[in-house]
């Protein structure tokens, strides 16, 4: 049964998004001495480079905590590594592939995301590499279902928030995504895509919005001068959006009872910023927080409407906007629960933004199964 293993290493899956490139790499742990001897030098060096470092260049990062250990795939056992770097560094990456003579390894490079199309020609001309281009939504769903099925090193991949109505005290609770269909899948990258998924291969894109992670970061950079997502989130975690947003109580003095709107609800995002005095006294942290809340609530609101229109009760949020972003995850959990009066449930996944890349990776193995 060693037919499958003939699929040459290295095994990669790549998802080239608008802001980030997500890369999954399968590190075989069952290499025999014989194999090791036969292994060409540059393959070995790639493996060593990727597995012995947690940062690559200035901007590449390996999310060590997400590593999936002891996976068996196509008869091989190994660890799946999760790596990301900014799409802006794509050309440097391709150059590196060229420098390391990647094309001599004769592997198929499975890529998804818009960049698979945008950079296809650059891969060819700069590094003599052919991409196997894959649809990003197919990959997203396949990757998600796979990771959920193999579980996260013995723990559930999926979680939700217990007690979502109290964002201060809501508790992250692992759960299983068994019997996942239908689900509304909200993928928050630079922009947002919302899919209604009815089975592994049957889904439709319901809608999308351009107000996504890219908007949060872009506007934060313009408003606060910050440069990274981490920086923006850090500021947001320390800010108070009520200095920026106009709340219902700022207009009505309390609740707007005629329409049962709570006084603490946001009436106008950035509404206080119409006043020069308030603009002059606002802090960067407050602005970042307001930006985060605005974008998150808006996504929540659109997702909720889609769920109602599509008659789906389970809403799964993924995408790198949610990375290290408990403010948003808790807010989304709250929004789904509150506005639907408990009808809708928000679910999240540990490997937030990597499912597209995993899906592309799975396609590589699938293509190798063909005779």
């Amino acid at each position: 049964n060693h037919v499958v293993t003939k699929k040459t290493f290295p095994w990669f899956g790549m998802d080239i998004g608008g802001t980030l490139v997500k890369l999954v790499y399968f590190e075989p742990k069952d290499i025999t001495a014989e194999e090791e001897q036969e292994e060409v030098e540059n393959l070995k060096s790639i493996r060593r480079y990727l597995t012995s470092n947690t940062a690559y260049g200035k901007t590449g990062v390996r999310d060590v905590h997400l590593e999936l250990k002891n996976l068996t795939m196509c008869g091989r056992t190994g660890n799946l590594h999760f790596i990301r770097f900014p799409t802006q560094a794509m050309h440097r990456f391709i150059q590196m592939g060229s420098d390391k003579n990647f094309s001599s390894l004769h592997t198929t490079l499975c890529a998804t995301g818009g960049g698979a199309y945008k950079f296809e020609n650059d891969f060819r001309t700069m590094a003599d590499l052919e991409l196997l281009k894959l649809d990003e939504l197919d990959c997203l769903i396949h990757g998600l279902l796979y990771v959920d099925s193999v579980r996260f090193n013995g723990h559930p991949e999926c979680f939700y928030f217990e007690n979502p109505s109290d964002t201060q005290n809501s508790v992250k609770t692992p759960c299983s995504l068994a019997d996942p269909f239908p689900m509304l899948l909200v993928n928050i990258g630079s922009g947002v895509s919302i899919l209604a998924v009815y089975s592994k291969d049957y889904y439709k894109r319901v809608t999308g919005t351009s107000l996504g992670g890219g908007t949060f970061l872009g506007l934060c950079c313009l408003l606060t001068g910050c440069e990274t997502f981490e920086e923006a989130l850090d500021m947001a975690s320390r800010g108070d959006s009520s200095n920026v947003d106009k709340l219902v109580r700022d207009i009505y003095g309390g609740d707007y009872e005629r329409f049962s709107l709570q006084g603490s609800a946001v009436a106008s995002s950035f509404g206080h910023m119409m006043s020069k005095q308030k603009r002059d006294s606002v802090s960067k942290e407050d602005l970042a927080r307001a930006m985060l809340v605005t974008i998150t609530n808006n996504i929540g609101s659109i997702a909720r409407m889609c769920a109602v229109n599509e008659k789906i009760e389970r809403v799964v949020f993924v995408g790198n906007f949610l990375r290290i972003n408990t403010v948003s995850t808790k807010l989304l959990a709250y929004a789904m629960d509150f506005w639907s009066k408990g009808q809708l449930k928000a679910l999240f996944l540990e490997h937030e933004g990597y499912f597209g890349a995993v899906g592309a990776f799975l396609e590589l193995l699938k293509s190798s199964e063909e005779p």
């Binding site: 922009g191 995002s269 605005t294 229109n309």
Partner: protein, 782 residues
């Protein structure tokens, strides 16, 4: 807010009302029931007044006492009548103190104790209002007022709603108001967004909302561009390029995302480029990107709510929209994108007034304003502002300091003609001049040319009043100004049509107390024609049946040549008052006419009689007496009941209901056929509810509609150029109809492919009512 109030106080000193205040706050002497809506920058004031105005009445002389040849048929008198009018005035908050002072100085009515108030600023200005006006401020819920106001304008103002089309010849496509205005979705974009589902006058629900609204655009925009004013931000946005700031699908894909049908130019991530680019962005580009982001987001939510509640009528309002072409365009674009054209974004001409109208209605419940029909007074209303791109929004805000809307309470409640085939798609007007530049130019010119004559006749109609000449000049000035406004803003009062031009002229004449410039001419002509009536009937009776049918139609058409409303005819009539009936017949086009369904009509006359004919009559004098009456007489003889519908108040030389009553009495006295028909109620006179030379079948007197239903009317006859050509030419009815007119305008004749005095004789049978030739049994009348 503190900054705004500072602006306000510093401005209130040096700003003074630039227009003569009595032309703004009109009829304050008897104003009552004030309401005020104070928004972020504009104040809207509403009040109710009663206007004394002159109406022309005719009264029959007692002819039994003395009946000499020289006595006129009836006497004309001018009477004072009280008209209820609603005034709405919009001005910048900066003027509020000056305006309140002015109102206080001129307010005579002491019954008024309360002023209804709504809007965010109502609280802030409460003390000022109470101090200045000595009225108690009574706050009303903003959203309730908004909905009440919205229902009111939708119900009472035809062409209130429009679709915005940026690159069309006319940016505004006015919508026919559906007879049933409910249910609809109102998206109010103030600082935040409220989405309200309205199901009936009193049932509405806030089904959703969003915090991303006008305040977000303003607040974020001010942070990003250091530009303070909302208008300036919009102006920046209109000059910017969003593609440098936004991440488009093609920035990610290199082109389109084909499998999903997402084009490359689609925004994938708003402000997506600003996180990574090292360069500075221009204010214009950022403002544009922000505008797109917010408009698209609101449009998307609106679509999701429209779909969830299964609604297709979606109106947009709030300060974010308020007449701003930039936001109307982006919202429209977004709605089209998200619904693929299934839902249209509708905007409202009087959107800015909804709150104050609603607040006013709340305070006026004892007057039952919703029990009446109201009509926009074109003379007293400013109309919609220009959105021409060369008039920048700032200039607009400053120059358009005062905006007014006046609505008159109509004496009659108006409803649809029950015989319209599809009331929701009925459009009265044949040509939309706002979309037809050539036609617009011609008609504006035509009305301007005719103005001298109208002024002259107006003066002549009031020989006993020496100041009539002065008033007539004021009328000239006002109407000329209206024509100039319409030349630049054809959409100011909804779709521009010949009807609206005629109606505006009538409103302006009334405004200056010329209620009926043609009263004396009509009186003279009626007198003259009556003398000829019996002779005309006799000569018709001598003809064979078939000859008579044709003679009746020709007589009707010839009578219709006598029309002072048409320029070509008024010239002839003015120079030769003896222009006779026979001469008119000779002027008529020979058959085949331009539109000639006479043969079908004749064939129909061979069939069973109609149950009841509704006849919309046109001119006084020869037209009604020698044209219409003999025709009606024949119908009555056939066994058809006849309902004569005439104008409720004067317009040009059209016969009014008041006049027609006297004429009918006089004819009945001469003619036993008419007499018995009147006595037996087979000939009925009704008011149309209109005072226009044209005819809007969707706004007719409720009584008329009732009569039409009761009598099982199966034939509608519409006569004259105004009613059958300028309007209703394409109107589809659910019963047989006859549209007859002589084209007395060479330009129009040319347009229709005919010539001066060409004849339109259009006999139509609805498809489902067409008899098959087989079961058609001819009945030979005696």
């Amino acid at each position: 807010m503190s900054e705004r109030s500072k602006t306000w106080s510093s401005h209130s000193m040096d700003k003074s009302i630039t227009l003569p205040p009595n032309e703004i706050f009109r009829n304050l002497e008897n104003a009552k029931r004030f309401a005020i809506d104070i928004g972020g920058s504009l104040t809207k004031l509403a009040y109710y007044s009663t206007v004394q105005h002159k109406v022309a009445k005719v009264r029959s002389f007692d002819h039994t006492a003395k009946d000499t040849e020289d006595d006129p048929l009836y006497e004309i008198s001018m009477q004072e009548e009280i008209l209820a009018r609603l005034h709405f005035i919009k001005f910048e908050n900066a003027y509020i103190e000056t305006c309140l002072d002015f109102i206080k100085d001129h307010l005579v009515n002491t019954d008024t104790k309360v002023i209804k108030a709504t809007g965010g600023g109502a609280h802030k200005f409460k003390d000022l209002i109470e101090k200045k006006l000595k009225l108690r401020v009574d706050k009303e819920d903003e959203m309730t007022c908004l909905i009440k106001g919205c229902n009111f304008v939708l119900r009472n103002i035809p062409h209130e709603a429009f679709v915005y089309v940026k690159h069309a010849d006319s940016e505004f496509r006015f919508q026919n108001t559906h007879p049933d205005i409910f249910p609809y979705l109102l998206i109010n974009i103030g600082s935040g967004v409220s989405i309200i589902k309205v199901e009936s006058e009193d049932t509405f629900e806030r089904v959703g909302g969003s915090s991303i609204g006008g305040g977000t655009f303003w607040g974020l925009g001010a942070l990003l561009t250091k530009t303070k004013r909302f208008d300036e931000l919009l102006q920046l946005a209109s000059k910017g390029q969003h593609t440098s700031v936004d991440m488009l699908v093609k920035d990610i894909y290199g082109g389109s995302y084909v499998s999903l049908g997402l084009t490359g130019d689609l925004i994938a991530s708003s402000f997506g480029k600003s996180a990574t680019a090292d360069k500075e962005f221009s204010k214009e580009d950022m403002a544009k990107s922000l505008l797109h982001m917010i408009s698209n987001d609101i449009g998307q939510l609106a679509c999701l709510y429209a779909r969830l509640h299964n609604l297709t009528r979606v109106y947009f309002g709030g300060f974010f929209i308020r007449g701003h072409p930039v936001t109307m365009h982006t919202i429209t674009y977004s709605i089209n994108f998200f619904t693929k054209g299934e839902v249209q974004a509708l905007f409202l001409r009087h959107e800015g007034y909804l709150g104050t109208i609603g607040a006013f209605l709340k305070g006026a419940e004892e007057d039952n304003p919703n029990q009446y029909s109201w009509g926009e007074n074109y003379a007293g209303s400013s109309g919609l502002m220009s959105t021409s791109p060369d008039l920048n929004p700032m200039q607009r805000a400053r120059s358009g300091t005062f905006d007014m809307l006046e609505m008159d309470r109509l004496e009659r409640q108006l409803v649809n003609l029950p015989l319209l085939q599809d009331p929701s798609s009925y459009i009265p007007d044949t040509v939309d001049l706002s979309e037809d530049a050539l036609a617009r130019e011609y008609w504006l010119y035509c009305f301007e040319e005719a103005l001298d004559g109208v002024v002259k006749r107006a003066v002549a109609s009031q020989p006993d009043l020496p100041e009539a000449a002065e008033r007539a000049e004021k009328f000239r000035h006002k109407y000329l100004h209206k024509l100039q406004t319409l030349r630049h803003q054809p959409f100011a009062y909804g779709s521009l049509t010949v009807r609206s031009l005629l109606d505006t002229r009538e409103h302006c004449l009334n405004e200056f107390n010329f209620p009926d410039p043609y009263s004396k001419i009509k009186q003279r002509e009626n007198d003259m024609a009556l003398k000829y009536f019996q002779k005309a009937v006799k000569s018709l009776e001598e003809l064979s049946w078939e000859q008579r049918q044709f003679a009746l139609v020709r007589g009707l058409l010839a009578g219709n040549v006598f029309d002072w409303g048409a320029k070509a005819v008024s010239d002839v009539l003015e120079s030769d008052p003896e222009f006779g009936f026979e001469q008119a017949k000779r002027q008529l086009e020979e058959r085949p006419w331009l539109i000639d369904n006479y043969d079908q009509w004749l064939e129909r006359l061979n069939g069973p009689p109609h149950k009841c004919a509704l006849f919309f009559v046109d001119n006084s004098g020869i037209d009604i007496i020698l044209g219409v009456f003999p025709f009606v007489r024949e119908l009555l003889c056939r066994g058809t009941e006849v309902v004569l519908a005439s104008n409720s108040s004067p317009a040009l030389n059209d016969v009014t209901n008041n006049e027609l009553q006297i004429l009918t009495e006089r004819i009945a006295a001469m003619d036993p056929v008419i007499q018995s028909a009147v006595k037996e109620d087979r000939l009925t006179l009704v008011q149309s509810g209109s005072s226009s030379p044209c005819l809007d079948l969707s706004r007719l007197d409720k009584v008329l509609a009732g009569v039409v239903r009761e009598r099982h009317t199966d034939l509608v006859i519409i006569e004259g150029m105004g009613r059958a050509i300028h309007t209703n030419y394409y109107a589809l009815l659910s019963c047989e109809s006859l549209k007859m007119a002589v084209i007395k305008n060479s330009w129009l004749a040319d347009r229709l492919g005919g010539k001066l005095f060409s004849v339109v004789f259009k006999y139509e049978v609805p498809l489902d009512k067409k008899p098959t030739t087989l079961d058609h049994v001819p009945v030979t009348p005696s």
